[in-house]
Symmetry: C2
Subunit: 346 residues, 2 copies
Amino acid sequence: MAEIVSKATIRDVARTAGVSVGSVSRALNGGKNVSARVARDVAAAAEKLGYQPDFLARSLRTRTTGMVGCLVSDVANPLYASIVQAAEARLRDAGLLMVVANTANDPARERAMVAAFRSRRLDGMLVAPGSDENDRTWRDLATGGSPVVILDRDVPPDEETPSPAVLVDHRDGARTATRYLIGLGHRRIALLTPGARMRPGRERIAGFKAAFAEADIDPAGALVCLQESSMDFAQGDALALLQREQRPTAIIALGTRILAGALRAARDLGLSVPNDLSVIAVGDTDLAAVHSPAITALRWSLEDVGRAAAELLLQRLKGNSGEGQSRALLPVDLVLRDSCGPPAVK
Amino acid sequence: MAEIVSKATIRDVARTAGVSVGSVSRALNGGKNVSARVARDVAAAAEKLGYQPDFLARSLRTRTTGMVGCLVSDVANPLYASIVQAAEARLRDAGLLMVVANTANDPARERAMVAAFRSRRLDGMLVAPGSDENDRTWRDLATGGSPVVILDRDVPPDEETPSPAVLVDHRDGARTATRYLIGLGHRRIALLTPGARMRPGRERIAGFKAAFAEADIDPAGALVCLQESSMDFAQGDALALLQREQRPTAIIALGTRILAGALRAARDLGLSVPNDLSVIAVGDTDLAAVHSPAITALRWSLEDVGRAAAELLLQRLKGNSGEGQSRALLPVDLVLRDSCGPPAVK
DNA sequence: GACTAAATTGGAAACGTTTCCAAATTTGTG
DNA sequence: CACAAATTTGGAAACGTTTCCAATTTAGTC
C-alpha cells in the first residue's frame, strides 16, 4: 500500500466532505463565513486525504506567489552570505520563500535575473545592483510594479518613487578609522578598496578623505588604491605599495581577500604588524578576529542589514507603501584590537 | 505615457497577430508546426506588446516550475556558501531558479521546508539533512515524487530507490592527514570535529582511526574531540586539551571556528606552531591560507560539490532516472604549508 | 409567526498558460 | 486533376485554486 503522492485536489476534499469547492476553500483559508459543521467536515476530509493545496494554482488566482527574490553578485562572499542568511530567516518566519541568484557583477545577467523574477511573479525582491551606473537595471527595477528593496546602493536621484534601501554608514566608519590612525600619528595611510563604482567604496573614500581634511593634514598622504577583490592581485598591489620609497605606515583594507593580500605582502617584506605597519580591516571577518595579531576592524552587522531589508520588504508587501521608514542607515563601529600602533618612522 | 507593466497576455498577442492563442503558444514555444507567416506575425505582436509569458500559468499547466530548492543548515557557513553558489550557477545556466532555505539544524523546520518546497511544486531539491538519524525527514524526502540530490550525507540503507548523492571522501582525507602526521613522528594527535551525527564527521573519525590502525601505533594516541562548531567553545575545549599532562603534539581541526579556537588556545599557552604543535586544517579556508604560519590543510572543492549536485539533479530532471552516475565521490587533498613539523618532545 | 437582515452555501467564472482534437489547409503522388 | 497524406490552424478543455454572485439557510426583531 504505497503512499499517495499527494494527488488529492480541492475537488476531492469537497466530494469527501460533501460540500462545494468554494466552501472548502473558505474553510481552509479564511475560516470566515463557514459554519462549524462545514469546518469540521472539511478539516476531516482534508486530513483523511492528506490534502496539500497547490500553491501554483493559488498563486495564479491570487496574483501572489509567497516568494521573493534576492539578487547579489555572489552569495559565497561572506559579506553577502550573512545578509542573505538573515533575510531568509526573517522572510521564512513570514511564510515566504526566497529565491537567490548570483550576478557575478555581469549587467546582462543582472537584468536577466530581474526579468526572470518578474516573469515568475515573485512578490518582491532584494537587490544589490553591481554598479550604480547600470541604468538599464535601475529602469527595469523601477518599472516593475512589485516592491524592491535595495541593499547598500545609492538609488538614482531621479526616481519618482524611490525604492526603500538598507544602507551602511561606510563613510562614518572610514572616517572613524582614519581619524584613529591619524590620532596615532600616521600621516601616510593607504585605503585598499575595490572600485568606486558602488556606494560602499565611494562612501569609504569620502570618509577617508574627510578625516584628512578635518585634521588639516597634507591630503597627499591619503592613498586611495582601487583594486579588484582578488587576493593575488591585492597581494601584488600591496607589495608594490609597501615597496615605495615613501611607503604608507598604515593600511585600511577591505574584506577578506584584500586584507589577506595585504597581510601576506607585509609578511613577505618582513614588516611586522603593528610595529612597522598598522592595519585596519574593513568588515569584521573571521580572518581579522583570529589573525595574530588580531586585526582592528570596522564592523557592521550583516545580520541587521538582512533583517532590515526583509522587514522593509515585508512592510511594502503588506501595502504600507507610503508610511514607515523607507531608508535604514546602519552604524559602523571600530573594534579595537592589536594591529594598530604609532608609526615607527617619523 | 507610462510604461505598461507587462499586462499583455497571450490572448492579446493572439488578437494583435490575428491568430488563435494556440498558435501563439506553439509559435513562441516549440516553433514546431508553425507556418512562417504565423511565426513572423506572432513574434512581431509579442515584441510590440512587450509580452512576457506568465510562468505561473505555464507551470500550472505543465506541472513543472523551473525552480529547485536548496536546503542546508546555514548558507552563511563558508562550507555551504560556495556549494550553494556553484549549484546556483549551474542551475541558472540550465534556466532554473534556486530557492534556498536554512534549517539551522532544526528537524522541524527541515521538514517544514521540504513540505513547502513540495507544495510549491519545485521540480527538485538539493538537501543536506541536519542529522542522519532524522528518519521523518528522510521519509518525507523519499515519498515526494520529485527528484532529490543529497549533499554529503549517507542516505539510509533501506531506501528502495536511493537518491543520488554527492559525497566527499572525508575518510581518505583524514587518513592522509593523519598518516602524514604519524610519518613526522607524532604519536598523540587530536581530531577536533563536530558531532558524528553526520557523515563528514563519521568518515573523518573512521579515517583518523584507520591511519593509526594501519601504522600499528597505540590507538590511545588518537584523541577524538567532539564539539559544537562555536569558536569560543572550541577555544575552551582546546585549552583544556592542550593543558593535559600528556598533551597532543598535533591537532587536526575542522573549519574556521574550531581551527580559530585551537590556534588561539595555542597562542594563549605560548605554544608555537609548528615547533610545539603541528596543526592541520580541515577545509581550506581563507584563515588557513593566510595565517602565519600558513596552515597545512585538507582541501576539497566546494564548487565541485555544488556543480556535481546540480548536474545530478539536472540529469534526473531530464528523465534519466535509471542510467548515469547517481553517486559522486569527490577527492580530498592535503595542501602542505608551514604548520606541521616533527614533535619537539619525544 | 411573519418579515428583514445577516450569514452561509453552491455553482461558475476567472487567473494565463499548454495541449488535445477536429477542421481546414497545404503538400505530395499517381 | 483527384485523392491521400501531411501539415497547420482554431477552439476548447484542461491545470487547481480563489472569489464573485445569486440562492438558500439561519438568526434577529417586532
